[in-house]
């Protein structure tokens, strides 16, 4: 391939105008509690009142009513695949190698889905509605991050996979 010509060799045709801005993010109460809970290997969600839709991760406000969703509820780490896609192209800076499965997962007891990875089975065997369970990192390796979950796996294989991955680590 021919060497890329400097657009500014003869004349300044491009001005480089990088902008760096520094911020300090402060997590909301709900977000702090959620990050704390996933460090402990648990999920929590929020709702306006008992019986109302449960949002996970917990949202401070119910988008249906605009009311504060202050009630926190513990949720199991099991659920089902709501929809999924198989990614065949590498994503820059992402250590996960294709093909891999990204799925929208509906936890048992929750009313909204969230995105995570599915593994532990043949990609061709994944189906909408399939029951899955979180495969957690060993407790000592967990931080305040959704990366505490390696991925979700078919429910009957999840515990065995977690043990296996812990041995490898």
């Amino acid at each position: 391939m021919a060497e890329k010509k400097d657009p500014n060799a003869e004349r300044v045709n491009i001005m480089y105008a990088p902008v760096n801005l520094d911020y300090r993010f402060t997590a909301s109460d709900h977000t702090s509690r959620f990050l704390e809970s996933i460090r402990n290997g648990q999920f929590i969600g929020s709702q306006v009142s008992e019986g109302a839709p449960v949002y996970v991760p917990p949202r401070p406000v119910c988008p249906e009513t605009g009311l504060p969703a202050e009630r926190l509820v513990e949720l199991p780490d099991t659920g089902k695949v709501h929809w999924y896609t198989i990614v065949h192209i590498p994503i820059p800076d992402n250590p996960i190698k294709p093909p891999f499965v990204v799925a929208n997962i509906l936890l048992d007891g929750a009313d909204i889905t969230f995105l995570h990875l599915i593994s532990g089975c043949d990609n061709d065997d994944i189906d909408i509605g399939m029951r899955v369970k979180a495969v957690w990192k060993p407790e000592a390796e967990r931080t305040h991050s959704p990366a505490n979950i390696h991925f979700f796996a078919p429910i009957d294989k999840a515990d065995a996979l977690a043990e296996e991955l812990a041995k490898e680590a």
Partner: protein, 352 residues
């Protein structure tokens, strides 16, 4: 064209850093507050329009998260401006005037505490000639103040008098940021910050959110006893290069004020969005307001300056003061950009 009236307005307490209370929560509390106070439902609002700036949070599409505060399900009619909420009000007023809506909810919010506001706002400058110099907001305003002082348009004592009055007036406003009794001598004895500006000549950095309900006069009368009619509304802009305008006057404010009909009847008071003390004097002159006019009875932006809401706040405070019976006719102003580049003027009147 149909008239438009303000039904109600509410703002959160102004704080330097709202910490774990995020934008959505600030909005949620104030939106529910105004809805309950007015005895209406969110579903009564034909249109929702908001103003905010994603650079403040450092996240693209940060404004989308805020929409949950208005319960947007089933889907609603909604719009957003990357400007002060006063311009969201402008858009909503057009919707009502043109018959597209009979009512609207407007909000503006800004959590400036996570970033460095002086740097963030310098990105609103000309990207080729000024932004690369990182001419920050305070330095740009200080150059304007220096020109005003050099030309004899105003004095440092005039600027201190603006601050003294702002803080004294703010004492009667609940939840504001800076208030109290400060003499002109005391203020002039303070050191300069970015000379000729002293720290107190600059608006504080504020986290907050504000919301307003407007409607046709007929609907407004159903919802409140004292609707306030927006009898004039106009906004004008000038060059983005401060060196191509005379910074010692505000031509766009003058033009907008005339178009909005400021001088057609006596003005009792004005709420002017001046983030710097000298700018209040320039605005007062541009709108032809004499010494009989009460300026910034709320304390103005020098008392609390929520980015993307402080202009809407001026209109909101003005409406509330008319609703309280203190005044019957006033002017509210909002500004945007560097050194009073873009200005909006609203004339508010009690319904007789």
């Amino acid at each position: 064209m149909r008239d438009v009236a303000i039904v109600n307005y509410k703002q959160t307490p102004a704080t330097r850093d709202s910490l774990a209370t995020n934008e959505l929560q600030m909005l949620q509390s104030v939106i529910q507050g105004v809805i309950k106070e007015s005895g209406v439902e969110l579903s009564d609002m034909d249109f929702v329009c908001s103003g905010s700036c994603d650079y403040l949070a450092g996240a693209a599409f940060a404004f989308v998260e805020a929409i949950e505060a208005v319960g947007p399900f089933p889907p609603i009619k909604e719009s957003h401006v990357e400007m002060d909420g006063a311009w969201a009000l402008y858009e909503a007023v057009l919707k009502i005037r043109t018959g597209e809506a009979d009512s609207a909810l407007i909000y503006g919010f800004g959590k400036s505490s996570p970033g460095d506001l002086r740097s963030v706002l310098s990105l609103q400058l000309d990207p080729y000639y000024l932004a690369p110099l990182w001419l920050d907001t305070i330095s740009a305003a200080a150059l304007q103040a220096a020109q005003c002082l050099d030309k004899g348009v105003l004095s440092e004592a005039d600027m201190a008098a603006v601050v003294s009055r702002s803080r004294a007036n703010a004492k009667s406003v609940a939840g504001t940021q800076l208030s109290g009794d400060y003499s002109i001598e005391e203020l002039l004895a303070e050191p300069t910050f970015v000379s000729p500006l002293r720290m107190h000549d600059c608006a504080p950095i504020t986290d907050g959110a504000s919301v307003m309900i407007i409607a046709t006069p007929e609907k407004a009368r159903q919802w409140c006893d004292t609707p306030v009619v927006i009898s004039g509304l106009d906004n004008r802009i000038e060059s983005s290069m401060p060196t191509l305008r005379d910074l010692t006057v505000s031509r766009s404010t003058e033009t907008a004020g005339k178009a909005a009909g400021v001088g057609s009847k006596p003005v009792e008071f004005a709420e002017l969005h001046a983030p710097f003390s000298h700018q209040e004097i320039l605005l007062q002159k541009a709108l032809g307001l004499d010494a009989s006019v009460d300026i910034n009875p709320s304390g103005g932006a020098l008392a609390a300056n929520t980015m993307m809401a402080a202009g809407l706040d001026r209109i909101g405070h003005a409406a509330k003061m008319i609703q309280s019976g203190r005044y019957t006719r006033g002017v509210a102003h909002a500004t945007s950009g560097s050194c009073l580049q873009h200005n909006l003027v609203a004339v508010l009147e009690a319904v007789s």
